[in-house]
Amino acid sequence: MERRNFAAKILAAAAGIAAVATPIAANAQTSGAKLEKCYGINAIGRNDCAAGTHSCAGQATMARDPASFVLLPTGDCSKIAGGSLTPGKAS
C-alpha cells in the first residue's frame, strides 16, 4: 500500500510538471531540421540498388584491400584545430 501511494504521488506531481511545461517541440530549439537534409531522407532510395542499378557497375573493379594511404582522412577533420593527421598515425 505504501508503495502504491508513493507511485501515485510521483505520478500526480510528474503529470503536473509535464502539463505546465512548454512543449519542447513547439520551441523548435534544436537545429535538427537543418541537419536532416544531410541524411537524404526521401531523397535517395537505398534499396533501389539491389535491382542491379549501379551506374558504376561497368567501371572500376572492386578495390583490392585498400592501400594504406587511402585510409588516411582528407576531409573536414583537418579543419578542426589540432585535428590534422600526420601520415603514419593511421596505418
Partner: protein, 247 residues
C-alpha cells in the same frame, strides 16, 4: 555436384573476399554491385563521417567494414549499426578520438529519421500509471554517452560551419544525449546523468518503481515530468503483478 547451400556459401565468400580473381567479368559485376550498394547505404547513414574522412578514406573504411560485417537484413536502412564500433577499433581512432562518437550520432540521427512517430504519452494518461507500470519508449529514441567535442564536431561538420570547426578544442568530457524524432523533426538534447540513468532504466523495461529507487519523491516526479515533456514515451503497460521485490 555442389549442393545449393555449399554453392551459395562459396559464392558469397568469394564476393566478400577482400580480393579475388576478377578475370571472370561476371564476378566483377556482382562484386561491384554489392560494394556500390552497401557503400551508398553507409554514405547516406553517416554523412558527418563521410565529410570528416573525405571520399577516399570513407570508401576505404566502408570497404573493410562491408567485407568484415556485411548486412544481416534485406533492408539497407538497417545496415550500419556496427560501423561506429568498427571505426572505434580502427587505427583512425587513435588520431581522431571523437570519430566513433560522431558515427554514433550519425547512426542515431539516421535511425530516428526513419522511425515512425508514435503517439505521445500525455500528462492525463500518465495519471493512470502504477508503480509497476513498464513504459514504452518512442521507437526513434537513442540514448548516447559521448565525448563533449563529438557533438560539437558533428553539428559543425553537417552545417558546414568551418569557423565553428576551427574553434573546437579537444574535450573528452562525457555528455549524455538523447536523439529522437519529435513533432518538429530531428531532436537532439543533452540531459543530466541522473535523468539519463532514470530514462534508461525505463527504456530498458524496469518498472516505474524500480526506476525511482533511491530517488526522493520530488526528484522522481521531476525526472518523470521531464521525460514526458520531452515526449520520450508513447505509453505504458500495467504488468498486473502483485508485489514487486523491494529494490
Amino acid at each position: 555436384m555442389l549442393s545449393l547451400l555449399e554453392r551459395q556459401q562459396a559464392f558469397q565468400a568469394m564476393l566478400l573476399a577482400s580480393s579475388s580473381d576478377e578475370r571472370q567479368a561476371g564476378i566483377a559485376v556482382y562484386r561491384n554491385n554489392i560494394r556500390a550498394a552497401l557503400t551508398l547505404a553507409l554514405r547516406l547513414s553517416f554523412p558527418a563521417i563521410l565529410r570528416l574522412l573525405g571520399e577516399d578514406c570513407f570508401r576505404a573504411h566502408a570497404a573493410r567494414f562491408i567485407c568484415a560485417q556485411p548486412p544481416r537484413e534485406g533492408d539497407l536502412h538497417l545496415y550500419g549499426d556496427a560501423f561506429a564500433a568498427a571505426l572505434a577499433g580502427s587505427p583512425l581512432a587513435a588520431a581522431l578520438p571523437y570519430l566513433a562518437d560522431v558515427a554514433r550520432l550519425d547512426w542515431a540521427a539516421h535511425r530516428a529519421l526513419h522511425a515512425p512517430l508514435a503517439a505521445l504519452l500525455t500528462p492525463q494518461a500518465l495519471r493512470a500509471a502504477q508503480g509497476d507500470s513498464v513504459f514504452v519508449a518512442q521507437p526513434s529514441l537513442s540514448r548516447l554517452t559521448l565525448r563533449r567535442d563529438a557533438r560539437a564536431i558533428w553539428t559543425a561538420v553537417l552545417e558546414q560551419d568551418d569557423a565553428a570547426l576551427a574553434r573546437i578544442v579537444p574535450d573528452p568530457g562525457e555528455i549524455h544525449v538523447m536523439v529522437m524524432r519529435g513533432l518538429g523533426g530531428l531532436e537532439i538534447f543533452e540531459v543530466s546523468p541522473e535523468i539519463f540513468a532514470f530514462a534508461g532504466a525505463l527504456v530498458q523495461g524496469l518498472t516505474l518503481e524500480q526506476a525511482c529507487a533511491g530517488m526522493g519523491d520530488a526528484e522522481a516526479a521531476e525526472a518523470l515530468g521531464l521525460c514526458l515533456t520531452r515526449n520520450l514515451f508513447t505509453g505504458f503497460t500495467p504488468t498486473g503483478r502483485e508485489e514487486l521485490p523491494c529494490p
